[in-house]
């Protein structure tokens, strides 16, 4: 059993149909706004992400810069103080004044105190094994030099200048060289670490820029894809409409030409006196009337379609279901009478009234009944069933089904049968006359009053079209006599 509740797509592969349907839905309305909104959203997200990344990189660069400046300043101070400690010691050699010598000794000791504090601070902040090793080495070498320095100072103060110089040259200079090399090694290591950190940050910045470029390219691609899909969908729709319109023109021309030709022939027969008797004249008259009625019906459908092109508005009122069915059957009487069809009615007892418009529902049902007759394939059984969907449901729905046992609808046609002007290729091939507007009009009318139209069909078994209408709520006021209302403005 094939089922369709609304038209979707054409006769192509299922995947393509789904994709096309999705794009059609996505870009059918407000498509440009949606497209730009999506692109804008992606751009904003990307911008936030990249900006955050760049801010992090900037913060890291700031930290590295500040750390580098501070570290270099400390290393510079360390270098200066080591030299100051030695220089002050040697200055004491330049004088015999005990007071000045004590001052120089004080300066040297103050400088060595700063060096010792600097080394201790370096050791507390050292993290890498190489840093710790270098810090300890510097501390040891500095301690060794200070012992020699103390000896040199003592000798200077005691007046043994030659011995002081000798001690300084033999032990002080090599030890101080080691201290200097240690500080230089610390500086080199610091530079290496700073360079490594800078390289990491540079790499992170490059990655951010790359992400930005990729993001923009992705957004551009997405935008292009969406635009392409949107334009393709629009073009496809326009082509479909153009084709349907051409088919409609061809079909309507045929539909108009045939009865007109028959009317002209019958008229000529009567006018030329080719009818032998009154009975033949009456027969020709009936032909003219029948064809004229058919023409009128055709014109009605076209006018109805034209009037529902803009969504029609109806004044909704409670209507008895039995009134609707009676009106529909009455209006379809001619089609039923000619085909010797009989309609079985089945109305569930105690049905509530529906809320809608009698004329619109009746017209829809009339179209469905005419279709059932038209595609009956010689089986004259048509059932009209009215029932309620779920008696216990809070929001009840009345369903009126038109059931036939005709040729049925193929699965490929089901999604399109409600499209205006659409006619199945098999139907056209079978020379079944029609405009392709009946189901479209029926659907438009039902949806205009808040209902919906669904179909279940199987080829060779038959079709059931169901009109779903909202039931009147229980607490509604007393029923009022229903009467037909045409489309607003018609």
């Amino acid at each position: 059993m094939n089922t369709a509740t609304k038209p979707v797509a054409g006769m192509k592969s299922v995947g393509y149909l789904k994709a096309e349907a999705f794009l059609s839905r996505a870009f059918d309305r407000h498509s440009t706004v949606l497209l730009f909104f999506v692109i804008f959203g992606v751009e904003i997200g990307l911008g936030i992400f990249v900006t955050r990344d760049l801010l992090n990189s900037y913060g890291q660069v700031q930290e590295i810069y500040a750390g580098s400046i501070q570290g270099l300043r400390r290393i510079g101070e360390l270098q200066y103080d080591t030299q100051e400690a030695r220089r002050s010691t040697l200055y004491a050699l330049t004088t015999n004044d005990g007071n000045l010598q004590v001052q120089y000794a004080d300066q040297s000791r103050a400088a060595d105190q700063r060096v010792s504090e600097g080394v201790a601070q370096y050791l507390t902040q050292a993290r890498l094994p190489r840093e710790i090793e270098l810090g300890k080495q510097l501390a040891n070498d500095w301690e060794g030099y200070l012992k020699v320095r103390d000896g040199v100072l003592g000798l200077i103060l005691e007046g043994s200048a030659n011995e002081a110089i000798s001690l300084d040259l033999s032990e002080g200079v090599p030890l101080f060289d080691r201290v200097r090399q240690d500080v230089e090694s610390i500086k080199i290591l610091f530079d290496e670490r700073a360079s490594q950190q800078l390289a990491i940050v540079t790499s992170a910045s490059r990655r951010s820029v790359l992400q930005l470029i990729v993001g923009f390219m992705f957004t551009l691609f997405l935008g292009s894809l969406a635009t392409w899909a949107f334009e393709k969908n629009k073009m496809h729709s326009k082509m479909q409409v153009a084709k349907l319109q051409m088919d409609f023109v061809a079909s309507i021309s045929h539909e108009l030409r045939t009865p007109i030709t028959i009317i002209i022939c019958a008229g000529d027969n009567v006018r030329g006196g080719f009818t032998a008797n009154r009975a033949e004249s009456e027969q020709q008259g009936n032909i003219i009337v029948d064809q004229a009625v058919q023409l009128a019906g055709l014109v009605d459908q076209v006018l109805l379609f034209a009037s529902t092109a803009d969504k029609p508005h109806y004044t909704l009122r409670p209507v008895q279901v039995s009134d609707i069915l009676a009106s529909a059957i009455k209006n379809s009487a001619m089609a039923l009478h000619k085909s010797d069809f009989a309609i079985e009615q089945s109305i569930e007892p105690g049905l509530p009234r529906i809320v809608g418009d009698l004329s619109a529902i009746s017209l829809s049902l009339q179209n469905l009944i005419v279709n059932a007759v038209k595609y009956s394939a010689g089986n004259p059984r048509i059932r009209l069933i009215a029932r309620i969907d779920d008696p216990l449901a809070e929001r009840k729905e009345v369903r009126i089904s038109v059931e036939d046992h005709g040729r049925g609808i193929t699965s490929s046609d089901l999604p399109r049968i409600f499209e205006p002007f659409y006619r199945s290729p098999q139907v056209v091939a079978a020379h079944i006359r029609g405009t392709g507007l009946g189901l479209s009009n029926a659907k438009t009318l039902i949806e205009a009053i808040g209902g919906r139209l669904s179909v279940v069909s199987e080829v060779g078994v038959g079709s059931t079209f169901t009109v779903h209408l909202p039931a009147e709520p229980k607490d509604s006021p007393t029923p009022t006599p229903s009467f037909a209302q045409g489309p607003a403005g018609s």
């Binding site: 005990g98 007071n99 010598q101 004590v102 000794a105 004080d106 103390d150 100072l153 003592g154 103060l157 005691e158 007046g159 043994s160």
Partner: protein
């Protein structure tokens, strides 16, 4: 009558100034006020690395006169003196050198000239500088008021007595600081 009043006034003033709760030990000499001499101990200090603990009065005198050149640990003896005018120096001249300032100058002038004394004492401008000098020089020896001594230097006993002992004889004669 006026002279009698003046004598009473001077007597009352002297009584006030000499009263036991008063810390100012002063005597009057006519209308001028002169501070009395105090007897603070004068500490003999050496470098903390010096193993010497005690010196006899004779050894102390010999060292300060420049007649001993080396310590037991081999370091050269470096005598430090404060500039002239410090009470500490005057006490040292009086009790250790037993010389006047001019005799002291002549002694070292003559000793360095003859070569008997290789190095004259280092003269320093303040007790603090002297203390720092002794701290920096392993063979240095000097003197300070006991109140000027800190942990950076070592105090040596003289004849087995430390400053503050009753038997300690190296005292400063001069105005209180």
């Amino acid at each position: 009558m006026r002279r009698i009043h003046t004598h009473y006034f001077l007597l009352a003033t002297a009584f006030f100034l000499l009263w036991p709760p008063n810390n100012f030990l002063l005597v009057t000499a006519g209308s001028a006020v002169v501070p009395l001499a105090t007897h603070q101990p004068l500490a003999i200090i050496v470098n903390r690395s010096n193993p010497i603990e005690n010196l006899s009065s004779a050894e102390l005198r010999k060292i300060f006169l420049g007649e001993r050149y080396r310590w037991e640990n081999g370091h050269r003896v470096t005598v430090t003196m404060l500039d002239p005018g410090f009470p500490e120096r005057e006490s040292m001249l009086r009790f250790v050198y037993r010389m006047t300032e001019s005799e002291y100058r002549d002694h070292f002038l003559k000793g360095t000239y003859t070569g008997d004394i290789p190095v004259s004492p280092k003269t320093l401008s303040s007790p603090e500088t002297l203390r720092k000098f002794v701290f920096n020089a392993p063979g240095a020896i000097g003197y300070l008021r006991r109140s000027d001594v800190d942990g950076s230097v070592k105090v040596v006993s003289i004849d087995g007595h430390f400053p503050g002992d009753l038997e300690y004889k190296l005292l400063i004669e001069g105005p209180n600081e």
